[in-house]
Symmetry: C2
Subunit: 409 residues, 2 copies
């Protein structure tokens, strides 16, 4: 069987990654905000590599770059090539370029595989316009009216920025659940677990749900020297007390794998001798079960009310986003486990604490993800890195699993 003979060329993948990192390079990292100049150039580069690999290429109306083998039924593979500001060279790019390597084999020997490949670099995973814009559009989760209203963080419209990709079609590429069998995404872990446990690969069981609320305490500005303590309405103390009590409450809930973070905190006015009238922060929390997120939200509402009462302030809690957890497909997970065992890789099943395109695809198709270690757990930074050997082991597991499924199906 051809899939048993095929070998992914990890050196070629790394060489492609280095070439791709030339677009928007930024010290040891890269910066390709979605549909900016460097991102558009990198999409053109990717389309050329897809054509060289023998894939039929499409760039759709939101900037998704797709390369298809001629097969009627296809496994979808890929990730994203856009980055955060001052991002890393691996992040989504690794999954796209490894997907290219996987597609090369299937395109070169189409008759050896019952099922083909649809390789996608999804547009704007990082949310310059909208988080996971490309995969949500691909899965039909965005009404077309919404697309016309999207603007990036610099205020430019999507239509305006799409002029950087004149080769794009006017239509939206769409998932077809009759033709597409599954989705597989290779990615760096973006956390410290695999490295700290000395493992080669992680097989993702689910992408955790995430919510973020903006909490604002409103008090009364007063002179901090002349206003007796009992007559104050201190929005800063309210915020501090709420943040500490919420962290303690989340810890007390003992939800396995749950995480929480209070950030973007500030108090106003910015003067040491004025009792702050405004205290603001973002409260972000992630968990594997929707019900766990509900409990963390209830804890926040409760401690925020208590802090407001205690300090004589008023509180408002405004949701910023709320993403439900997405389970990965059991059969895909088993296929990955079996392949990892065969390759002698040290791995573990684990949740993904970060959001990924697989979270969107997983709502519509059987989906799975493979993680490789992140050096120091660092990502979204120019310091992001993984050794060539670690990358090669991830590519091996990813490619052999996809090829095996394509052979069988």
């Amino acid at each position: 069987m051809r899939s048993m003979l095929a070998r992914p060329d990890a050196e070629r993948v790394i060489s492609d990654l280095r070439a791709l990192a030339g677009y928007g390079s930024c010290g040891t990292g890269v910066e390709r905000r979605a549909l900016g100049i460097a991102d558009c150039e990198s999409r053109r580069w990717l389309a050329d590599r897809m054509r060289e690999a023998g894939l039929a290429v499409e760039i759709d109306a939101v900037g998704n770059v797709l390369g298809r083998t001629a097969h009627a039924r296809r496994i979808v593979v890929g990730s994203h090539t856009d980055t955060v500001p001052r991002g890393g060279w691996l992040d989504g790019a690794f999954g796209v370029v490894a997907g290219l390597e996987v597609a090369r084999e299937v395109a070169a020997h189409p008759h050896c595989y019952a099922t083909g490949i649809e390789l996608v670099s999804f547009s704007d995973e990082e949310g310059h316009f909208l988080p996971m814009l490309g995969s949500k559009s691909y899965c039909g989760e965005i009404a077309e009216g919404i697309l016309a209203s999207l603007r990036n963080t610099a205020g430019q419209s999507l239509a305006e920025c799409m002029q950087g990709l004149p080769e794009a079609t006017a239509s939206l590429a769409r998932l077809d659940t009759a033709a597409h069998l599954a989705f597989l995404e290779l990615h760096i872990e973006q956390g410290p677990v695999l490295e700290s446990e000395g493992l080669d690969v992680g097989i993702v069981t689910h992408v955790v749900g995430a919510r973020q609320d903006r909490v604002r305490f409103h008090g009364r500005a007063n002179h901090a020297g002349t206003t007796p303590m009992g007559l104050r309405s201190d929005a800063a103390q309210a915020l501090f007390r709420c943040a500490v009590a919420w962290a303690d409450a989340c810890s007390g809930l003992q939800i396995p794998g749950a995480v929480w973070n209070v950030a973007e905190a500030s108090t106003h006015p910015a003067a040491g001798n004025v009792v702050p009238e405004l205290g603001i922060a973002s409260f972000q929390y992630r968990a594997q079960e929707r019900e766990s997120l509900d409990r963390m939200a209830e804890a926040l509402a409760s401690v925020a009310d208590r802090a407001a009462t205690l300090t004589g302030t008023r509180v408002s809690i405004e949701p910023v986003f709320a993403l439900d957890p997405t389970a990965m497909d059991t059969m895909m997970i088993e296929a990955l486990e079996e392949q990892a065992l065969r390759l002698g890789l040290r791995g573990r099943c684990m949740p993904s604490g970060a959001g990924h395109d697989a979270m969107v695809l997983g709502r519509h198709l059987p989906a799975a993800m493979v993680f490789v270690p992140s050096r120091g757990g660092v990502s979204h930074s120019t310091d992001e890195d993984t050794t060539p050997e670690q990358l090669a082991r991830g590519i091996e597991l990813f490619a052999r699993t996809v090829w095996s499924i394509c052979s069988r199906s």
Copy 2:
């Protein structure tokens, strides 16, 4: 005795205050940053009024405006006419203009008073260059080398800004403890105590000491979704825990009249999905005894260390300023109490939670202060106000006390 016949003209004081408020007027308030255009114009206006009152006028090398009667020995009265940005019409201006009214009487009947008046509008009480620049210079607390290095918050040097007052002398007016007998300052309370207790006047027993420290927690930035809670070094949680524990510790110390404030708080980087690597805030505290301030500082060091240990962060505490408490003069306080009783005013003795020029003068001369109520306890705001009747009662107490001392001494 002349001082028994003399009556201060409160309407004239309020009319003078309205005229002065025309310099740098700003809605219902005023903005006269020290030695800016409006401040220089207002100093010129004040010097003209002093001359009209028969005082010998000097504008010294830091912008202090002084008006003296011809007496060999003088009581120093006054305050400051500079303001914070978007400040109020009363603040220091009230004490200067009421001092002008007091000086008018003594200058008009010099032979009826054994002791004369030295009326001063001190320069830059609000610290555009240096807090209480004018009174510190007057009391010889600033080495001349320091003056040359002072710059305002816009980066301009003191010498540059003094060009706005070409009539200023090249010398520094100085306190002479042989010639100057005492200092008396009339001021708005800038707090809610007198209004909430329905009182006419406050007699200040001491200006509290104040310290401010800048506290910085240093942690490690990490992805807030993928970094397990146990592997975090969260500078925001460290700051929040420190701020809450310190407020509770200060409260637990049960120091009468002590106040504390955590403000200017922020966490970095400003992203909801990043564990903050930096948490910063100003910790300000005031108390009547130096030893109480020491205890509050010890509490801060202790809770900051504990918060750092608990969160795996590092903490640094950097003093921003430290001002010792200043007691007002017992005999001056008694003279004010006696006069208040005679006038049938409802008043109380109280500390001043805010700093004043009297704090500086009080280190060198017997000093005292009289407070009138602040509407809603508000000051350093264009909303700052006090009713004409309340102003009049304060003027009455202030003027009669000064005249009585001038008659006797």
